[in-house]
Amino acid sequence: MSVSPNAMKAKIVITPKKAVVDPQGKAVQTALEHMGYTGIGAVHVGKYLEIELTTTDREAARQQIDDACHKILSNPVIEDYRFELE
């Protein structure tokens, strides 16, 4: 299957909200410090998603991805999200 030259991709980053305890981030931070890396502050472990889009309608894609991020891809109670289309 050939990929349309106008095909877009949504690149989505989901991170835990600051108020939510992030034991993974804390564990990674501690590990980095133990390894001798200096100047390490708080670490936040989140998720990265790439979604290939078959539409060329940028605005429609933006609305749909935003809706999906809010409804299923992230949980607004504990996570923030941001995304870009390219």
């Binding site: 835990p16 108020a19 939510v20 305890v21 034991p23 993974q24 564990a27 299923i72 891809l73 949980n75 109670v77 504990i78």
Partner: protein
């Protein structure tokens, strides 16, 4: 009573739940596959533990959009009793049927052990048969059971007495060490504002037979059965 026990790809406490309802408590119980669109004549619904849809994305995130969960939403909106256990609790939170969310245990460890639960209020169909002061000894088995809600939601939960169970030590004290997961306020289980939907991380179905070391979990299930009987009596009168 007729009970429905939901079954998602990855559920693994569904058979235990049916066993306890049928063989221990003597009621009718059937499994309901996630693609079902109707709950039939169910008097109450159990959302069992496991790893629905492999816990992909987030625990419970995908299960909440299954056809059967749409039926559960409608059932709950009409006042039907729904209890979510472990992954079931996570699903009900994702579905917005319960406030808050469950995140990774603070220890980062999967914890599999017996805990003590304090019943915070008897004012619910899930707790009204628990004797005053009785601590429930029930097992947990989870990696993501740390209850989180923002300050505003927590304040509302406290004001409305929606926290049903807290983790405590054998002396009934809600210490940090008594909690297996680091939940805010040692919260083990909550209910919705209408008090007909509840969820908890511990497994009452694994503490319902003497051979398993504790029968304290039955107090939760029997509370529900009694509540349903009282509803039926009230309807008949």
């Amino acid at each position: 009573m007729n009970f429905a026990v939901l079954q998602f790809p990855g559920s693994n406490c569904d058979q235990d739940m049916v066993h306890v309802l049928r063989n221990v408590l003597g009621h009718s119980a059937r499994l309901l596959w996630h693609k079902e669109k109707s709950l039939g004549d169910a008097d109450a619904v159990f959302v069992p533990g496991g790893f629905s849809y492999g816990d992909y994305l987030r625990t419970g995130a995908i299960a909440r959009f299954s056809p059967v969960m749409q039926a559960v939403q409608a059932f709950a909106a009409q006042g039907g009793l729904v209890l979510g256990i472990c992954n079931g609790f996570q699903i009900l939170c994702e579905a917005g049927l319960l406030p808050g969310a469950l995140v990774r245990n603070r220890s980062l460890q999967f914890r599999c052990e017996h805990v003590f639960l304090q019943t915070v209020t008897k004012d619910s169909p899930f707790t009204h048969c628990v004797p005053d002061g009785k601590l429930l000894r029930v097992p947990v088995a989870h990696g993501e059971g740390c209850y989180f809600a923002d300050e505003e939601t927590l304040a509302r939960l406290r004001a409305n007495h929606q926290v049903l169970w807290r983790y405590v030590n054998a002396r009934g004290e809600a210490t940090a060490a008594a909690s297996p997961n680091g939940s805010l306020d040692n919260i083990a289980g909550v209910c919705n504002e209408s008090r007909n939907v509840a969820g908890l991380m511990p497994h009452p179905e694994r503490a319902s037979e003497t051979i398993l070391g504790s029968t304290d979990g039955r107090l939760i299930l029997e509370s529900m059965i009694r509540a349903l009987e009282q509803r039926a009596t009230a309807r008949a009168a």
